[in-house]
């Protein structure tokens, strides 16, 4: 019983079942680890009292043989998910001390299944960012460091707190959200597994909205199996979200270890970028070789509109954000700054409450939707989006089961290193992940190796709509071949 924090969820479930330890002991071990790791800034709110209360309740249920599939499993929740009576801020000053009187559907399903809330996790403000540096609570630090260096690295974003906490053993798994890569990119930067489910698979109800046609919730975990376990509890139809799909939730864990023999894996030539680091190229070929060795068939495919996904995203996502964020006006909740008129009150509140990146995106979104520019920008971007989706449909129609790509164009970078002068430099982080959101497809990032600086790198698998199971089967093959990676503890 020496190290209760380094187990996988699957191992902890077994340990709880055979009474090797209690849920309370498991939760206490994590609370201690969280306290000792505050330098990482992964949690923006620790909820130890709630955690112990939930752990005790889980122990009581386990004793009666009524423990759910996640009974006693301590989790961290991205601060974008509304948690009843527990402060939820989206890491924005504008939400201030917002205490939701309701619970998001995804988290309510986790509690239904017995999970324990350890606290709320840091993220980029309103999930807008790729480094977790735009949070009003300050940047999250990646538990990974370059070999022989003390430089603080970013964990990626926007789910940087989730990724950092899972990698640093500060929770057994975490919820996250992905609008352009916000689950998969931080997962790749921290050697964790991140799943962005098909659009409509997880309810968006009670999740602070960024870009509603792109946002999806998903898990970050330490193994592919753990991600599958969490997915089963998070997914499912919800009448409160009209875009939630009325499709049954399969037993994702059953897909782990399933043969991938005969599966056709597409290797898209457009993802081979000029100037791509040799180690990313090498990782990609290795991943392909592992899948081939497991019996899959590799086919070169073409997704001709790939290069237009990121620019189209930077029209569609800000446009939706400008509309969604109109609600923050200082009237019903959150921050209010005084003004002589109601208009001035709105303007002062939003100037004070929104950080630089959020303000930039709201303004871009306002511009591309404004009279005279709508057709040139927004309508054109939505047409390009149709073409991006068609690229994938054409490949799937030719019998491709899944697509293998790198997850990110580089490993984690230093805090403050990117995007200072030109915001687009930061946006390029999502070049391999954003297509998936534009097409509404499922994607998984799996740790696959390390770069020359000893930093983790990930591979991404993209699946057919609602076929997350294939991604879990293929992801497991990569995990088995690559192994799992844990950062050396320095905090």
């Amino acid at each position: 019983m020496t190290d209760l924090t380094s187990m996988t969820i699957a191992e902890a479930k077994a340990g709880l079942a055979n009474k090797s330890f209690t849920a309370l002991e498991l939760t206490d071990a994590h609370l201690t680890a969280i306290e000792a790791a505050r330098v990482l800034n992964a949690y923006v709110l620790e909820t130890p009292d709630r955690a112990r209360e939930m752990a005790k309740a889980a122990d009581a249920k386990i004793a009666k043989g009524e423990g759910g599939p996640l009974a006693g499993i301590p989790l961290g929740i991205k601060d974008l998910f509304a948690t009843r009576d527990i402060r939820t801020t989206a890491c924005s000053k504008i939400l201030g001390n917002f205490i939701p009187p309701y619970e998001s559907t995804v988290t309510s399903q986790l509690w239904r299944d017995g999970a324990v809330l350890l606290g709320k996790l840091n993220n980029d403000e309103f999930a807008m960012g790729s480094s977790n540096e735009t949070s009003c609570f300050g940047p999250v630090i990646n538990p990974w460091r370059r070999e022989g260096s003390n430089t603080d690295l970013v964990p990626g974003g926007s789910s940087g707190g989730s990724a950092s906490a899972v990698a640093a053993l500060l929770c057994m798994g975490a919820t996250a959200t992905d609008t352009g890569g916000s689950i998969r990119q931080p997962a790749a930067f921290t050697a964790t597994v991140g799943v962005k489910p098909t659009y409509g698979r997880c309810s968006r109800w009670g999740i602070v909205a960024f870009a509603s046609s792109l946002d999806q919730a998903g898990p970050i975990a330490r193994s592919v199996r753990d991600a599958a376990i969490l997915m089963r509890s998070m997914a499912g139809h919800d009448p409160k979200d009209t875009t939630s799909a009325e499709i049954g939730v399969p037993d994702y864990e059953a897909a782990i270890g399933k043969s991938v023999k005969g599966m056709r894996i597409g290797i898209p030539k457009e993802y081979r970028l000029d100037g791509m680091p040799a180690e990313i190229e090498k990782l990609w070929s290795e991943g392909a070789a592992w899948l081939k060795a497991a019996g899959a068939e590799l086919v070169e495919i073409s997704l001709p509109h790939t290069k237009y996904a990121l620019p189209a995203y930077y029209i569609v996502a800000p446009a939706e954000a400008s509309s969604n964020l109109a609600r923050y006006d200082g009237v019903r909740y959150g921050l209010r700054m005084p003004g002589r008129s109601i208009g001035e009150m709105y303007e002062n509140t939003r100037a004070e409450g929104f950080g630089d990146e959020v303000r930039r995106r709201v303004m871009i979104g306002t511009y591309v939707l404004s009279a005279g520019y709508y057709d040139a920008y927004y309508l054109r971007a939505q047409k390009v989006r149709t073409l991006i989706k068609k690229d994938f449909e054409d490949c799937f129609a030719k019998g491709v089961n899944a697509i293998l790509t790198p997850a990110t164009p580089s490993a984690a970078f230093g805090v403050g290193e990117k995007g200072g002068a030109d915001p687009v430099e930061m946006y390029l982080n999502d070049i391999f992940t954003v297509t998936v959101n534009m097409a509404g497809l499922p994607g998984i990032a799996v740790p696959a190796g390390k770069d020359v600086q000893d930093l983790p790198l990930g591979l991404q698998l993209i699946g057919r709509p609602f076929d997350e199971e294939t991604l879990f089967s293929l992801g497991e093959v990569i995990e088995q071949a690559a192994g799992r990676f844990t950062p050396a503890k320095w905090w």
Binding site: F98, I99, I315, R350, S370, P423, V424, Y427
Partner: protein
């Protein structure tokens, strides 16, 4: 396309975000960097392409027009910066 300082002020007003004169040049540069980046979309042939309205094929669902909850006024105003008797308070709108 790029935006000038007047347009930046107009966008800020449309977005209801107060922007000081000192911030305008900086914002203008950032917005123009993003607009220059998205400019490449103009090369895409989009003739006859339908704009995407739903990323997964689904019919717009409509809920039944029934009252499902109520009597939660306390909950609704609980987070308000200023409220009185279950009303949100704002600066005077009509003189």
């Amino acid at each position: 396309m790029s935006v000038d300082a007047t347009t930046v002020r107009r966008i800020a007003h449309l977005a209801r975000i107060a922007v000081s004169d000192a911030e305008v040049p900086h914002l203008q540069g950032e917005l123009n960097a993003i607009l220059a980046f998205v400019e490449q979309l103009s090369e895409v042939k989009i003739d006859g392409v339908e704009p995407m309205t739903s990323v997964t094929p689904m019919e717009m669902k409509k809920r039944a027009d029934v009252v499902k909850d109520g009597d939660i006024a306390d909950d609704i105003v609980r987070n308000a910066p200023d409220a009185q008797n279950h009303f949100f308070l704002v600066p005077k709108v009509v003189e």
